[in-house]
Symmetry: C2
Subunit: 449 residues, 2 copies
C-alpha cells in the first residue's frame, strides 16, 4: 500500500519543522482544511503540536478543535485564553457547540453563553437538555419549515427572500400551525414540480421523523438503512418538530462506534490520543495490564495445582502453552464476530441456540483436525503415544469450550449492561487459559501417571 | 443496554417461524425496508434464511441483495433462477449494478447486460472499467450538468421539464462545452439566489473534483473532512466530468473499513457470514488456527531448550505463562492503536521515532509498576527473593519488547504491502510469547541455578 497524501504531508511538515524553516510550514498549513489540520495535530508529539496549533488560522480554531479526539482537544484548550475560546465557539453550529462546551472549564462556559445571541442561547439550551448519545444530542435546531397549504411558488419566493439555508439542507419540513411534523419537502421536489402545486400535494409523507430520545446507535442504523442525508427530529409526546440531524454527524457516530469496538477489544479508550502525555497513557494502560495480571496469576495458580505431576513429567510443562494459546485464538475469533453482530443488532436471544450449534460444529471440526496434527507432532517429538493422546484431546475440548465461551460471554456481558468488546476478550481468554491448563495437566495426571 | 428494535424483531420473527404461523411472518416482513430485511436475513441460519428469502417482495430483491454481506448474497443467488436475477438487477443504480454483476455466474451476467437499454449498458461499461476500490468504482454516471453562461431562470425551467433528479442530487455540476468540470451549483443556491443571475456568478468554484483513480479510502477521508453529500468525479487527464459519488456509498466504505480492521485482528474475513455453512466457516478459521499452532510450537520449542532448568525448578513452569501473557496484552494494545492510526493516516515514517520514545516510556512505567507487583506476589507465594527478581525483570524486559514490536511490526507489514491488522496481532504475539518464555527461563537459568 502506498503512503496516503496525509502521511506524505505529515512527513514533509515534520521535516520542515525539524529544519526550523517556518515559511514552508506556514504555507503547508494554509493549504489544509480544518479536518486535515486536526488529523495532522493528532499525529504530532505534544511539543510540535503546540507549535503548529499557534500557527493555525484563528478563524479555523473552532472547526479544528471539533475534529480532534477529546484528549488532544483538552490539551489544546488548556493552551488557549478565554477570549480565544469564546471566539472559537462563536463560529460553531449549535449541536457542535453543545459538545464543545462539555470540554471547557466552567468559567469559560459561562462567558461563551453570555457572548451568544438570545436566540442562539435558547437553541443551545434546547439541545443541551438532551443526552449527547441520543437523537436530541445529535440534532441541530436550525430547521426551515413550511405550511402544507401554500403553493411551491410561495415557498420559492420565501426562500429567495430568506437567502442562504443552513448547511446540508436538502429538504424543508412541513408542519401544521402547532408545529407538528407532517412531512418533508425536498429541494429537488420544489425545483422539479409545477410551481402552482400546493406543498401538501408534492411533499413526502413517508419519511418518518426520529423521536428525540432515540439512541444515537439506532439513528445511525436508520440513516444507513434508508440512505438519508437529513432527517427531522420530533418530541416524544406530541410529535412536534424540534430539530434535524444531518448525515455528517451520523458519519461521526458510525466511525466512533467502529473505533470503539476495535480499541476496546484491546482494553483502550476510543479517545486515546496517539501522543497522550506518558503519565496519562501509562495510567490508563496500567489498569488493563493489572486486571490481566490477576487473570494470569489465576492461571498460574491452576498450573500450581499440578506441581507434583509437572515434577514427574517435564514434557507437560514444555507443551502446556500450546493448548491454552489455541483456545485463546479460537475464542477471540468468535468474540470479534459477536461484537460485530451485536453492533449490527444481528445476534440476540432469538438466534443464540442456532449460532451455538454452528460454532460447536466448527470447533469440533477444527478440534479434530488440529488435535490430530498436534498429536502427530508430539508423537514424533517425544515418541510417547499416550502424551500425544492427552494433548490432542485437551486441544479438542478447549476449542469446544472456546466456542461456547466466545459466544455466550459477550451475550451475558451485554445483558449485564457491560461492553462486550471491552470485557469480552479478557473474560473469554481467562476462561480458555485457565481451562486449557486445567484440561491438559488434568488429563496428563489421569492418563500418564 | 436494552435490546434494539432489530433484535426484538428477529426474536419475534423466529418465534413466529418456529410456531409455523406464516401470516404474522409475512406481515412483519412487509414492514421492513430492504436494509432491515438484509440484516434480518444475515442473522438467520441457512434453512430459515431460504424460507424468508422466498417471502421477500420480489420488487425489493435487488436492494436486499445489495445490503447483504458477500457470502450471504452468494448463497441466496444460487437459489434464484435467471429471470429473477435479471429482474433484481433491473432496479439497481449503475454503480450498485456493477458490484452486483461481480457476484453473478458468467451466463447470467451476459443476460443482464442484454436486458439493459443501450444508454445504461454504456454507463455500466464506463463504471466497470474502473477498479471497484477507487473513485471510479464508487461513482454513478447519472450527473446533471449545466453550462456556466445561462441564467438560473433557464436552469429552473430545464429542471421542471426534466422532472425527477437522480437520488441524492444536492447539486448540479457546471461544465464547459468539452465536458470539463468548472464548478458546482447547489440546489440551495438555485433556490435562494436571484433567478436573473448567471450560473457562473453563483456557482461554487471551490469544491474540487475527485480524480477517477483516487483510492476509495481517500475518497472517504475527503468526504469526512469536507462534510460532503456528493462530489464530482473527473478523468485524470483532461479533468472532464465523468460521474459523481454520493455519501451513502461513502458510508458503506467507512463501515466496511472499520469492520475489516476489527475482524482481521482476529484473523477473520470481513465478509464472514454469521451463519456461514459449517464446512466453509471451519475451513476459513482452520488456516488461522494452523498458523497459530505453528507459532505455539515455536514457543514450546523455546521452553524445551530449558528442560534441564525446569526439571530442577518447577516453580518456573508454574509462573512462566505470566510473563508471556502480559507481553501479549501490552503488545496488542499498541497494535490496535497503530491499526487505527494507519487507517486514519496519522502514523508513518514521519513520527515513528517520537511514538517509539513515548511507548517505551509508557512500557518502562508499567514494567516497573507491574514488575514490582509480580515480584511482591511471587516473594509471598514462593518465599524466594531471587525468583521474584527474575520474574520482575523478565516482565519489565518483555513489556519494553512488546512496545517496540507492537509499534514497529505493523509499520513494517504495511511497508511490505501486508495488512497490519491481519498479520500484526499474530506476529507480535508470537514475538512476545517466544521472548517472554526465553527471557524468564533464561534469566532463571542464569540467576537461580
Amino acid at each position: 500500500m502506498a503512503e496516503s497524501g496525509a502521511e506524505q504531508r505529515v512527513k514533509r511538515l515534520r521535516a520542515a519543522l525539524e529544519s526550523g524553516r517556518w515559511a514552508p510550514v506556514q504555507r503547508m498549513l494554509a493549504a489544509l482544511n480544518p479536518a486535515e489540520s486536526a488529523s495532522l495535530l493528532a499525529s504530532l508529539p505534544s511539543r510540535e503540536r503546540a507549535l503548529i496549533w499557534e500557527m493555525v488560522d484563528p478563524a479555523d480554531d473552532g472547526e479544528v478543535l471539533l475534529h480532534l479526539p477529546e484528549d488532544v482537544r483538552a490539551e489544546l484548550i488548556e493552551q488557549m485564553d478565554t477570549a480565544e475560546l469564546v471566539a472559537a465557539a462563536g463560529d460553531m453550529e449549535i449541536d457542535d457547540l453543545a459538545d464543545f462546551l462539555d470540554s471547557l472549564p466552567e468559567t469559560v462556559t459561562a462567558q461563551v453563553m453570555r457572548a451568544l445571541s438570545d436566540t442562539d442561547r435558547a437553541r443551545l439550551e434546547a439541545v443541551m437538555v438532551h443526552d449527547p448519545d441520543t437523537a436530541g444530542g445529535l440534532m441541530n435546531t436550525d430547521t426551515v419549515t413550511v405550511r402544507p397549504d401554500v403553493s411551491l411558488e410561495v415557498v420559492m419566493r420565501y426562500l429567495r427572500k430568506r437567502g442562504e439555508l443552513p448547511l446540508h439542507t436538502d429538504a424543508l419540513f412541513v408542519v401544521d400551525r402547532y408545529g407538528v411534523y407532517l412531512g418533508t419537502l425536498s429541494l429537488e421536489r420544489i425545483l422539479t414540480s409545477d410551481p402552482e402545486q400546493l406543498v401538501q400535494k408534492v411533499m413526502d409523507h413517508e419519511l418518518e421523523a426520529l423521536p428525540v430520545s432515540m439512541p444515537a446507535h439506532e439513528v445511525a442504523q436508520r440513516f444507513q438503512s434508508s440512505d438519508l442525508v437529513s432527517a427531522p427530529v420530533v418530541d416524544d409526546q406530541r410529535h412536534r418538530l424540534i430539530g434535524r440531524i444531518t448525515v455528517d454527524d451520523v458519519v461521526d457516530v458510525i466511525r466512533a462506534e467502529a473505533e470503539r469496538n476495535l480499541l476496546s477489544m484491546a482494553g483502550l479508550d476510543d479517545q486515546e490520543d496517539l501522543f497522550a502525555p506518558v503519565p496519562r497513557a501509562a495510567r490508563r494502560r496500567a489498569i488493563w495490564l493489572g486486571l490481566n495480571l490477576c487473570t494470569a496469576f489465576l492461571a498460574a495458580r491452576v498450573v500450581g495445582l499440578f506441581e507434583a505431576t509437572l515434577e514427574q513429567i517435564i514434557a507437560l510443562a514444555v507443551l502446556m502453552p500450546i493448548v491454552a494459546s489455541m483456545g485463546g485464538i479460537a475464542a477471540n475469533q468468535i468474540v470479534a464476530l459477536m461484537v460485530r453482530g451485536l453492533a449490527l443488532g444481528q445476534v440476540g436471544a432469538g438466534n443464540t441456540g442456532a449460532l451455538l450449534r454452528k460454532e460447536l460444529l466448527v470447533a469440533l471440526f477444527n478440534g479434530l483436525l488440529w488435535g490430530a496434527a498436534v498429536a502427530g507432532v508430539v508423537w514424533w517429538w517425544f515418541q510417547w503415544p499416550l502424551l500425544s493422546l492427552v494433548i490432542g484431546l485437551a486441544l479438542l475440548l478447549n476449542l469446544l469450550l472456546a466456542a461456547s465461551a466466545g459466544l455466550l460471554v459477550p451475550l451475558l456481558l451485554r445483558r449485564m449492561g457491560l461492553d462486550p468488546a471491552l470485557a469480552g476478550s479478557m473474560v473469554v481468554t481467562t476462561i480458555t487459559d485457565v481451562m486449557g491448563f486445567f484440561l491438559f495437566l488434568g488429563l496428563g495426571t489421569l492418563i500418564l501417571l
